[in-house]
C-alpha cells in the first residue's frame, strides 16, 4: 500500500513549516529512514526521514510552499506499487512522534522486516500469556495488526486516536474514555497499552520464570541431587567491583583494537649496549638540572636517534591507505605516557629539528600536561612514529601495539647491567632490549631490522653524531 509522508509533529509550538528542498526526486529509490525532504521552521531545518522504503511516487507540496503539521507531502511506493487513482488515497504515515517506527510496523509483511520489532527481546511465552483480547504492545508489531484490527467505526474518535488504536490492535470500546463525553483520548490509549503490557509481562513472569527452558522440560530426565555449591557468603571471597568504563578507556580500547584489526603486527628486537650513553647522560645530568631545571632522561637521545634512522628508512615513517603509501617528510614522534586515567600518546612535533635540551623540555611538559589533562588537540595529533617506554616500570622486553595508522612503534626498556661477551671475554655492560613492532603489510622485515640496527648503532656511539644535535 502506498505510504503518504506527512509533516510530523515537530514541537509544541510548531504548526507549520516551509518545504526547503526535496532531497529525492519522483522515481528515486528510498531506503527506510533516509532523509527525503527538508522542512524549515524558524531557524531550524529538519530533514524528514522516510517512514518506509520504496520509491518516491509523488510530490504533493513543492519547495518553498508552506505545509501544516499533518499535511501530506508526498507518496512512497513499495516495489511493484503504483499510485492509486485520485492520488491522495494513500494511507497517512505519520506517527505523532515516531513516524518511522509506527508506520513500518503497521504496513509491511513481517517477513520483510527482520529487525523491525521494537521489542525483539520479549520472550515467546508472552504471546500465549497475554490475554487474546488485549494484545500487548509487543504483539501489535508482529505483522497481524491490519488483519485483525477491531473496527473503530461508529465511535467518535480523532484520526490520531483511531490510528493509534489500530496500530496497537486495540478494541477501543474496551477503553474508558477520559475526554469530553467519555471520548477516548490519545493518553487513554497509551495508558491502556502500557497497562496491558505491564499485565502481560507480569503474567509471563509467574507462568515461566526467565531462567526456565520450557523446550527442554518434556524430555529432560529427572534431575539428580544438586551438587553442593561453594559458599559465596564469606565476606570478600568473590567480590567483584563493577565500575563503568571511562571515556578514556573506551577510546584506548577502540584504538588498540583498530590497530590489531587493521595492521599486520610483527616484532623484532635487538640488544643495545647503552654504556656510552649512560656515561654521557651521567655527565650532562647535573648541568642540565642546574642550568635549565630539567630532568635529563634517555628519551631525548632516543628520539634523536630515531628521527635520524627514520630519515634513512622512510617506510617506517609512512602510513598506507588501500591504494597509496604516504611517506611523511616530517618527523613527529609520539611518546606514550602512562597515567592513572589511562595511556595517552602526546606528540613532539618536528622532533628532528630540536636539540636534546629542547626535546627534554618538551617531553617533560607534555608528560605533565598529559597527567593534568591539559593537552590540546595539536598535542595528540599528527604523529608519524611512536616510542613507548615499558622500561620505566622495569620491563626488559615487550611487544608494543602500533599506534595505527603509523607504520611502526619502538619499545624501549629497562637499562640494566648484564654480562655480555666482548673480544672473547665476559664483561659487564649497561644493556637494553630494543623492540620495533611494525605493520608487515607496509614494512618488509629487512628495512625493519635495518632500521632497528641503525637505532642501535646510534645509541651505542652517541658522541659520533650528537655534536650536530646539541
Amino acid at each position: 500500500m502506498p505510504v503518504t509522508v506527512v509533516v510530523p509533529q515537530l514541537g509544541e509550538s510548531v504548526v507549520e513549516g516551509t518545504i526547503g528542498k526535496w532531497l529525492k526526486k519522483v522515481g528515486d529509490s528510498i531506503a527506510k529512514d533516509e532523509p527525503i525532504v527538508e522542512i524549515i521552521t524558524d531557524k531550524i531545518n529538519i530533514e524528514l526521514p522516510a517512514p518506509s522504503p520504496g520509491t518516491l511516487g509523488q510530490i504533493l507540496v513543492p519547495e518553498g510552499a508552506v505545509a501544516q503539521v499533518g499535511d501530506p507531502l508526498g507518496v512512497i511506493l513499495a516495489a511493484g506499487e503504483s499510485l492509486p487513482s485520485g492520488g491522495a488515497a494513500a494511507a497517512p504515515a505519520s506517527g505523532a512522534k515516531q513516524p518511522a517506527a509506527s508506520s513500518a510496523g503497521a504496513r509491511e509483511p513481517a517477513a520483510s522486516r527482520p529487525a523491525a520489532s521494537p521489542q525483539p527481546s520479549a520472550p515467546a511465552p508472552a504471546m500465549s500469556g497475554a490475554a487474546a483480547s488485549r494484545p500487548s504492545a509487543g504483539t501489535s508489531t508482529m505483522g497481524t495488526a491490519t488483519a485483525t484490527a477491531p473496527s473503530t467505526d461508529g465511535m467518535r474518535l480523532s484520526p490520531a486516536v483511531r490510528k493509534l488504536a489500530k496500530e496497537h490492535n486495540l478494541d477501543v470500546s474496551q477503553i474508558r474514555g477520559s475526554g469530553m463525553g467519555g471520548r477516548v483520548t490519545r493518553e487513554d490509549v497509551l495508558a491502556y497499552v502500557e497497562a496491558g503490557t505491564v499485565a502481560a509481562t507480569a503474567r509471563v513472569g509467574t507462568m515461566a520464570p526467565p531462567s526456565a527452558q520450557p523446550s527442554m522440560q518434556p524430555s529432560a530426565p529427572r534431575p539428580l541431587a544438586p551438587i553442593p555449591a561453594p559458599s559465596f557468603s564469606a565476606p570478600g571471597s568473590r567480590e567483584v567491583e563493577v565500575r563503568p568504563l571511562t571515556n578514556v578507556r573506551k577510546r584506548i580500547a577502540e584504538n588498540m583494537l583498530r590497530s590489531r584489526h587493521n595492521a599486520a603486527h610483527c616484532s623484532t628486537w635487538d640488544e643495545v649496549d647503552m654504556t656510552a650513553l649512560v656515561e654521557l647522560r651521567g655527565r650532562l645530568k647535573e648541568k642540565v638540572k642546574t642550568q635549565y631545571g630539567l630532568n635529563l632522561t634517555y628519551m631525548p637521545f632516543i628520539v634523536r636517534a630515531v628521527t635520524r634512522a627514520l630519515k634513512e628508512f622512510p617506510v617506517l615513517n609512512a602510513s598506507m591507505t588501500e591504494t597509496e603509501i604516504h611517506y611523511k617528510k616530517y618527523y613527529s614522534i609520539g611518546i606514550a605516557v602512562h597515567r592513572d586515567q589511562g595511556l595517552i600518546v602526546p606528540v613532539v612535533h618536528d622532533a628532528d629539528g630540536k636539540t636534546i635540551v629542547q626535546l627534554a623540555a618538551e617531553i617533560e611538559d607534555l608528560g605533565k600536561r598529559a597527567r593534568a589533562e591539559k593537552l590540546t588537540l595539536d598535542d595528540i595529533q599528527g604523529g608519524t612514529f611512536t616510542i613507548t617506554n615499558a622500561g620505566m616500570f622495569g620491563a626488559t622486553a615487550s611487544t608494543p601495539i602500533i599506534n595505527y595508522p603509523e607504520a611502526a612503534i619502538l619499545g624501549v626498556h629497562l637499562i640494566q647491567e648484564r654480562a655480555v661477551v666482548r673480544d672473547h671475554r665476559v664483561v659487564v655492560r649497561w644493556m637494553m632490549t630494543l623492540v620495533v613492532s611494525f605493520d608487515h603489510r607496509l614494512v618488509d622485515g629487512t628495512p625493519a631490522v635495518m632500521f632497528l640496527h641503525r637505532v642501535k648503532e646510534l645509541l651505542e656511539d652517541p658522541e659520533s653524531w650528537l655534536l650536530d644535535s646539541i
Binding site: 512522534k97 571511562t246 595517552i344 599528527g382
Partner: protein, 237 residues
C-alpha cells in the same frame, strides 16, 4: 544519572572541514557511535548561507568576497546569511533531540540554545534576551549571538555563534540573517573588554548543564574524542 555531554574545544578549524566533520559526527551520533557532544570551534572569516538564504543579503558580490579571502559556503541549516570569523565562539551541539528534556521539539531546542546563551551572557553582567520573531540572542537592539540549526535523523547539528570579540566591521559584509534595521554587538563592545575565551566557555557549559538538565563537561579531555570522528580534521594539523 544522565550521561555527561563533553565539550571539546577544537580551536581554529577551516569552515568547510568543520562542516564535513559535523556531517560525519551526525551520522555517528545517529548510529549511537558517539555521545551527545558540544564541539567548539573558531573559523576564519566565512559567510554561510542557510536554506532561507537570500543572495541580496550579501552586500558584496561573491567574486568580490572570495577575492578578499572570505569564503561563501551554502549550508543545510535554517536561517539566512551568517558571518563567522576570529573572535567568535562557534558551538556545534551534535545532540539527539530525543535525549534532551524538550524531546523532539524543534522550537524548544532553539529556545533552549537561546536560554543557555542568555544565561551565559548574564554571568558576565550582560542583560541579554530574545527579540521575537528573530531567533538569536540580543542585548537591546543588537544581536550578540546567531543561531541556525539543522536536524538529520533527529540529531541536531550546526548551532550558534557567540560574538566574544570579533571584528564587528566584518558584519558590514552582510545584513546579518537578512535583518536590515538591527545592529550587531559583541561581548567586548558591550563590556569594554573581551572576557577570556575559557571563562566564556566555562559559563556556557554551566548554562547548558542547567538548560538541558545534564552534566556538561568542560573542558573534556580531547583524547576521549573518538578518533574516527577526528579523521576529517587531521588534514590541517
Amino acid at each position: 544519572m544522565p550521561t555527561a555531554i563533553p565539550v571539546y574545544d577544537l580551536g581554529r578549524v577551516p569552515y568547510r572541514e568543520a562542516l564535513a566533520f559535523q556531517r560525519r559526527a551526525v551520522e555517528m551520533r545517529a548510529r549511537d557511535e558517539a555521545p551527545d557532544t558540544l564541539y567548539i570551534v573558531e573559523h576564519d572569516p566565512v559567510l554561510t548561507v542557510g536554506r532561507s538564504g537570500h543572495p541580496e543579503n550579501l552586500r558584496a558580490g561573491e567574486q568580490e568576497l572570495r577575492r578578499r579571502g572570505v569564503d561563501v559556503v551554502p549550508v543545510e541549516r535554517g536561517g539566512d546569511v551568517t558571518y563567522h570569523g576570529p573572535g567568535q565562539i562557534v558551538g556545534y551541539p551534535i545532540v539527539s533531540l530525543g535525549s534532551l528534556p524538550g524531546g523532539r521539539d524543534l522550537h524548544r531546542y532553539l529556545r533552549d540554545l537561546e536560554q543557555a546563551l542568555i544565561d551565559c551572557l548574564g554571568a558576565f553582567g550582560l542583560s541579554a534576551g530574545r527579540n521575537p520573531p528573530y531567533t538569536g540572542v540580543w542585548v537591546g537592539e543588537k544581536k550578540v549571538a546567531a543561531i541556525g540549526v539543522a536536524v538529520r535523523h533527529w540529531v541536531a547539528f550546526h548551532g550558534f555563534a557567540l560574538n566574544v570579540d570579533p571584528d564587528l566591521s566584518h558584519f558590514d559584509l552582510i545584513h546579518p540573517c537578512g535583518i536590515r534595521h538591527l545592529g550587531v554587538a559583541s561581548m567586548a563592545s558591550l563590556l569594554g573588554q573581551a572576557p577570556p575565551r575559557e571563562a566564556v566557555l566555562a559559563r556556557l557549559a554551566a548554562a547548558f548543564s542547567r538548560v538541558w538538565d545534564r552534566p556538561v563537561e568542560y573542558p573534556a579531555a580531547l583524547e576521549t574524542l573518538a578518533s574516527a570522528t577526528l579523521q576529517p580534521l587531521t588534514s590541517h594539523v
